[in-house]
Every structure is written in C-alpha cells, then in structure tokens.
Assembly symmetry: D2
Homo-oligomer: 297 residues x 4
C-alpha cells in the first residue's frame, strides 16, 4: 500500500517505518489540486499509502483524503503545505494516523451505545480515548467505571439547565475534548456548545432520518406501519435532526413486532451505526459538504 | 405440509389431490376464533396445509390466513363458514389457491417495473393474469405486445383528464379487473376509481416512505444526503403517499452517487418490491389493519 | 393476540392474566394433529396467543409451536396432552413462557460474544439466566464479575484435558444447566458432554457455513477473495461444523479489507447471530428436523 | 469532479468537453507510481476526474484506475505513458470512457439473466453492446429478437460438442467479442475458448461460493439447511467454480422455503449480481490480483 508521491534525489523511497499522517482537504474545485498537493508532499519525501478524492458537482467543491508516511516533522509538513493551501483556499486537517482523539460521551439511561463504544475502544477497534462519560442520570456510572473512564453526573432540570450547560462546557474545555458523542443523550445541547464544537458533535437518532424526527420515533414508525426501521448518525447542528448525515442502517420488522420490539431491535443498529460514524470521523474520513457529508470509507 | 383440521368418520385424511383453497379472515379479537373456524372446516373434511394468525393489540382485531384442501365445492365451504363468519362479524376472502387474479398494469414511460411483472408472470413466479397494460404514453406498447398483453394508450392532458378517467374505469369494469398495479404510472387516479377498487390498487413509490413524499423523491433524497435509498409498495388511498405499506426495501448509496445514479439504482429495488407486493396480495397474504397491513409471508 | 382454542362452558374466555405457556411439538406428519392438540387445550380452557406450524415435505414430520394462557397447573396440562402425544408419537417441550433458562457460557479470550449476551441478559432482551461463565483462559473473568456472574477458570492442556472435561461436566450437572453456549470457545467439547447436552449446545462459527470450516475461517475467506463474510450459529454435534444451522448473517467486504479487518468486522455479526440463536432456542422457537432446523420466528 | 493533473502553460485547465478516458494499471508495488503516471498525464494536459488506488500487501502489486479528460489523441496518450509503463513493468488497459464493449451472451433455457442484461443495455444503464446471444437451446430466441440482437442456436450434444465449440470460437472471433457472459449457460467452455478469452469470460454461479460448487447448488443448500442463499459472479478459469470472484449477493430463506423456492428467489439475485459484475468489468473497475479481484466501485 506504499506509493510514493516523491522519489527522493537518491531514488530511495521514504522509509516504511516513518510515522504515518492523515491529510483531509476541501477547497473550491478547479484544476491542478492533486498535482499541487502531491507536489508539496514530494518536498517532504512522503510516501502515499492511501488516497481518495471527490469533486462535488453540486457544491463545486473538491475533497481529498491522503494517508502518507514521512520522516519529516509536523512543522515541516505544514510549512510545505502552507502555500498550496493558501493558493487553493483550502480547509485542511492534518493528524498523525495513529492518534486517538479525545472523546466525551454523553448518555442518559440506555447503555447499549455506551457499551459498544467502550468495548470497541478497549479492543482497539475504535481509535479513540474516551476521556469521560457524562450522564444526566447516574445509571451508567458503573459501566464507565468498569472500563476505567471517569463518570460525571450532571443532572438537568428546568431550574438547573443553565448551570448544567455551563458545567458541560467547562468539562469539554478542561478535558481538551475533540469530539462529543451523544450516545442516546436525551437532552438538547446549548447553542454555545454547538457553536464551540461545530462539526465535532455526533448524535445517534433512532430513526431512518428524515422519517420520524423528534421524540418516540419507533412509536411513530410502528404507527405508520413501516416494514423496515433504521438509525442515523449525524453531526449536530442548531437545526434539530437536520444535521449532515454520516451513516445509516436498517433492519426488517413485521406487523407482529410491537413498538417495544422496535425499540429493542433498534438498539443493535443504533450502537453499530454510531460506532462506525465515530470511527470514520476520527480517522478523518468524514468531510462536510454543506449540509451533506463526503465519507471516504 | 398436511395437517387435517378434521378426521373424517372413517379416520381417513382428506385426499391430498383435492383442490386447495385460501381463506383470509379478519374480525374483532376474542375467544374461540380459531376453534370456530377450524370447526367449520372439519365439517367439509378439509386438510389445513398452511396457517398463520395475528391478533393486533392496537386495533384489537384478529387476522387469520388458512390454506387447506377439500373435495367439497365452493358453495358448501361458504355455507359451512357462513354462521361462524356471521357470529364473529368477520370479513373473509375465499379463493382457490391456484387461481390467477386478473391484473391491470398502469404505466407511463419507465419500463423496469412492467418488465419484471410480465417476465415473472410468464415464468410462473407471479400468480397473476395480466389482462391489459394501460399507458398514458405509448412507449411500452411493444413490451406488452412481446408478452402478448393488450396495450391501451390513454393519454392524459388537463383537457382530456375526465375522459381518460372514464375510459380507465370502463376498462377496469369490462376486463373484470381484480387488481390495479401502478407500475410507475405518473398520474393520480380518480377518486371514483380509488373508491371502486379500494384495497385493490397497489402503487410503487420510489422512496423509503414516509421520507420524501411527492415528486422527485430521489432528488430530495440526494439533496438531504441520505446514505440509503429505498422503495415502498403501498395500497392507494385518497391520501396521496399515505396508503397502507405492504413492502419496502433499500439499497446503500454514497456521496459519489448522483441523483441520476439514485434513479438507476432505485429501479431494481422498485421492480423487486412491487413484484413481491403483488405476489403476496394475490396470494391473500396481505390483510388491512386500519392504515397498516398484516403480511403473512 | 388472544384467540381461544376453547370456549368454556360458560362461554367466558380464559383470563388474560393467567400464566402463559409455550408448547413445542414434532411428530410424524398426518391428519388431525392441530385439531387433536387444540382439543387437548380446550380441556384446560386455554387461550392460544401465538401459533405456528410447518409440515416438512422432506422428513414428513410435522412441527407445531403454540403459546397459550391457562389457569390450569402444569400437571393438569401435561395430563390433558398425554394421550394425544402418545397417539401422535410426538416429542414435546412444555415450559412457562416467562421462564429464564439456565445457561452456561464457555469462552476463551475474545469477549465480544460474551459482552453482548451478558448485556442483553441484563437489559431483559435475552430471556436467560447466565449461571456461570467458563473460560479456558481467565481474561474475561472481570467482565463476568461486572455482570455478577461466577467465572470458572478451567485451563485446558493436553495433559489436563480429561480432568478439564470432567470438571466441566460436573459444572453442567451441579448448576442444572439447560443450555451451553460456546461464545468463541476455542476448544472441542468431549463426546460425553455432547451426548448429555444433545440439542442443547449452541456454537457460533465465524464463517458462513458450509464455507470455510475449521480454523481461521476469516483467513480462508480472505484468501479466496470473497466479497461477503458471515457467521453461523448451530447446534453442536459430534460432526464438527456440521451441526444443524440455527441462524446466519453476513456483511460486505472489499479487496481493501485485510484478514484482520475481516476478524474485526465479523465480531459484530458473530455476537448478533449468536444472541438471536440463543433467544430463539430459549423461547422454544427452534425445532430439530433431522440435520436441519425449523425456526418459528 | 475535475481535478487536473496538469496545469497547462497558459494556466487554463483542460477543456471539460474533451473526450474522457479510463486507464487501469497494475504493476509491482513500489515508490513513485502515482507520481510517474500522473506525470505522463501532465504531458498530455489531462484532467483527472476520478482516481482509485490499492496496494495489495499479499501480492505486493499496486493497482490504479484513473479517469481523465484530454484533447490528445489515443496514440499521443499511449506514447506519453509508454516509458512509464515500461519502467514500472505495468499491465495497462486504456479505453475511451464512453465506449460500449462488444459482448456475447451465452444462455440455455432460463431467461432471467438475459432479460436483465438486455433491458439494462437498452436503458443505457449497462454500457455494453450485445452483439449476439448464443443458446444451446432456442427457447430464448424471441427475447433476443425483441431486443434486436441476433440469436445463434448452437446445440451441444456429446457428438456435436467439438463442432459446437469450434462454431462458438469462430463467432467470438468474427464478432470481435471483447467479453463473453455466461448467463446461466449450462455448458462448460472449451479450454481453447477459456485461453483465448482469459479474464474476459464472466459466469454467474447460483450459489454463495465457495459453498455448493457444482450442479444443483440450491438443492445442496436446501439439504444443508442454510438460512441465507446467494449468487456469485466470477471470471471463468479452467478450474471450475474456482475463478476470481467479482461480486456476490445474498437473500434470506426459511425452513418453509423449498429447494424450488430457492431457485425462484435466487433468480433475482443472480440477474442483479451478474449485471453489476458486467457493468464494473466493462468500466475497467475490476482488476485481477492473482486468484482474487480488486474492484474499484
């Protein structure tokens, strides 16, 4: 999986034991983008190990994800990319490939999503470091504890809502949180937190959006008589249940399944869809294209 | 698959070469329904070959589908059932199992659903007799002709709409049509036809309802950035795109698929979902439970 | 969901708050089976709440699962059924519907299946009581402990194999185990245990059987270049990987996924397939038809 | 979707109305491949519109598919690529993107695959030109005729087998066939034809390979009691049912489905899987990696 964007002057490829990096880039579409970016990587003797691109005909933006190895330190890579980025008017994210993002998980009482995220984290399938679990109830404190993650009980009532939001915001800052995951957290985030963490809050909605927005989606689905239910992981925006969709999945149901059965059957899909969305986000595979996403799987 | 509801006085089972019947029944839920119905079948020495039941906790109605063999003629079977049906306040449908329903297919220009229905009919997979194809355009006349089915070109314009509807209604009556299938027919049926054929008109909607009702659902889906598209077969009611759902299916899409790709990819799901809905309907497997369906697969 | 097989002499239906029972029955196919069985239930004033039947044309056996409510005590039900069962030459299982079977889970080092089973048990989705976890390694002791289940470390080496098998057999007897679940237990059970627990040991095999029997199935699958991987839950017989299949599921893979990716991706399917198989088995929904199963979902 | 590998000397991007080309390339993995190839494209002022790459860790080969626009004629493009190709030791295929490959379809009696291929060809979904249909029976002659494709009846009996094979080979040569599709052709191809058309014969096998090789796979599957059936499209090699897999798909079955039901249900999967395999092959998306395939979807 090693293809070198560069041939060093001696003709030797960059060493395969050099650190690996992930570069995600988006910019207005146009000529010469890949050439320009790979040119910058030539300058730091990088070997490209994975590459994907997409030009959106609707938004006329270009999206690129590159994984590469180089012995050059981060500042040198950024320096090499800087003029290109400036010229293209590009947004970029550059991260070490093996870095585990600092994640805060918000929960209420249902533990299926939390269980999956923590289990997969420990098994090394999910490249994240869960730095804390916040619950507006304390039911899931033992589970967090079992996985060695600090649990913060922040109850939310109409009276304490403002305080709770402030506490949560402090926590995000103090723990240097890079991604907030709403793992069936039954509260709406404050506009301030949404703003601070824009594009870095992922929610799991227990329906196949845009069907059945709002509360009790499984009951809505049951009432409508659908034959397939689903779950949707999306970025949180101020527009409830309208954020950019990252991943969806579905399962068959029949007339014999009650709304309560839908709830049970849905848990597996929810956990699975959310875990994939978190994984892809932290690997730099999800790029925002307006109110849609580009997902380089 | 032979279980006899009856043991004849000689103890001999009903002959396995007797004609097979399908009985679909729904009535208010209560005690003794299966016992009562199977008792009536005992009287005509019927052997049950397949049976399914469902009591809807929401509507408090009971649904039953029985397939059985008996040498008794239809009138005798109906006579035996009559007192039970009356007492239960039941709606029933009784048909020979091998009967092929008389179906009228309505189309516009897209032929993928028509192609699948006609091909499966000829191969014996779809137990229907297509007695005619109606098109508001004549593009699909050759395909109907290839399969030996009369094609009726009934153009619909604002001026001719009333006439077209009357012609269509006449056709339904003259051909003794038992089921109307809208195979991507891009016109709305007249309220009169809807009324006459209530519960016997099946439409394929090219979205995963209730998402993306109305026109251009694939474009809506593309604009929303969903990761899965679908199709829905439902009974037509006066409430557009709100009729009881019979069957749905889905397919994965990515950011790289255009709305036009969605259209192409969706054709296969549409044809497949519609064919299944038509099959199950004509086999008496779909029963109406208010605005939902019970599907005994 | 209440249909009464009986109308009591007063015409009153059996009370809906009576205990619920599950009856699974198989016998040589023939006439009058449902009639005979429902007749016996009439005698104990039972209300049928769910019923499924299947006559296997290959084995010529008939399979029936009935769920019913009655105020009659177990002995009275069994007494009513006895003459019918004798006459039909039937095998039956009769259990209270709400009973949780006593399950022993066997594991090695991988915890994904155990995690799902224990989590779903605690959430009430899986109607089982896990009476113990046995590991030939002790890696999963903390997880068992977290869920309050005793963990038994029974190492297996060539020298200790006979002792280990004896210990395991003792455990099965002492704990009155009704179902043994091999949740990625990497050892072969002793013929004696297989015999004692015949039809009551479920294994999860990490391939889409009958493809890729034996060890390292994901590596075999990767080497063959398949585009879909799967997992299979089956009853354990002396014929390795050949036992009757209960449930299977699959997931798409691509050329870019390594054998190690297959392993990771497969974990979710394995856990999910095994949990469903265990659930259906303990609900009396899985009946043996020779080397195949009838699954009344 | 326009990214230019080149910036012309005037800074203007290559015109978006230039012809589009597809380049598929495989070679021993190493440093500088993408750089070298894109460099050659720079020389012909090409704009890359789509690009995918994969380095196989097992075979240590590198695979690349590029779609690009350029005003340069084919000879000029080939000339620019020649030194790079030579240096890399690469196998390449270069085709106009809109070209429709010349396809010969071989059938017996079952028409479901042929029907799908011809329908999708006519609708423009399948970028092929079916230059002929060959049947060892003549049942499908009318269908070929309906779609305006010449039908060749080449019966195969033990006595005529050698002649039939010679006739078929002549046909492949005379019609300049680029791809042979076995659409449920129940005969084995001659070694000579296999050799001449190596990597250009696609078969649909009606099982989820490697399960159930050989004849009557649905009956084998039914006998084994599987819960999911499938179909596999693969390149034909001299090693029957062992050729590189291009695509697979599956469908759920139950104990109540007979082997005959499997056959019916499987038809839809077979047609769908084969159509996708043919589409991807003709778009240059399928590259051979030993006995496996790389599929750039």
């Amino acid at each position: 999986m090693t293809d070198s964007a560069s041939v060093s002057q001696t003709g030797a490829p960059a060493h395969s034991d050099s650190p690996e990096w992930v570069l995600s880039l988006s910019c207005p579409d146009g000529a010469g983008i890949v050439h320009a970016v790979s040119g910058a990587l030539v300058d730091v003797e990088a070997s490209i190990t994975e590459s994907q691109q997409f030009g959106s005909p609707d938004s006329r933006r270009f999206f690129l994800r590159l994984q590469f190895r180089t012995a050059a330190p981060e500042e040198v890579i950024r320096e090499a990319l800087a003029p290109v980025v400036r010229r293209l008017g590009a947004d970029i994210e550059l991260h070490p490939a093996v870095r585990r993002q600092r994640v805060l998980i918000l929960v209420s009482k249902a533990g299926h999503c939390l269980n999956t995220l923590l289990f997969q984290q420990r098994g090394g399938q999910l490249p994240i470091e869960v730095v804390g679990v916040v619950g507006n109830h304390d039911d899931l404190a033992p589970m967090a504890e079992f996985y060695g993650v600090p649990f913060h009980h922040i109850p939310v009532t109409p009276e304490t809502k403002a305080d709770a939001e402030a506490t949560l915001l402090d926590l995000v800052r103090d723990l240097h949180v890079e991604l907030v995951v709403l793992a069936r957290y039954m509260q709406i985030l404050s506009p301030e937190l949404c703003e601070v963490m824009r594009g870095r809050v992922i929610n799991i909605h227990h329906s196949f959006l845009p069907s059945f927005k709002g509360a009790k989606p499984y009951h809505q689905a049951h009432d409508r008589g659908v034959k397939i239910i689903g779950a949707t992981a999306h970025y949180v925006t101020s527009d409830l249940d309208e954020g950019p969709i990252i991943e969806q999945d579905v399962e068959r149901v029949t007339h014999a399944d009650s709304a309560r059965d839908f709830v049970h059957m849905g848990q597996e899909i929810e956990a699975s869809v959310l875990a994939r969305a978190v994984k892809w986000h932290t690997q730099g595979r999800v790029l925002l294209d307006g109110h849609r996403t580009v997902v380089f799987r």
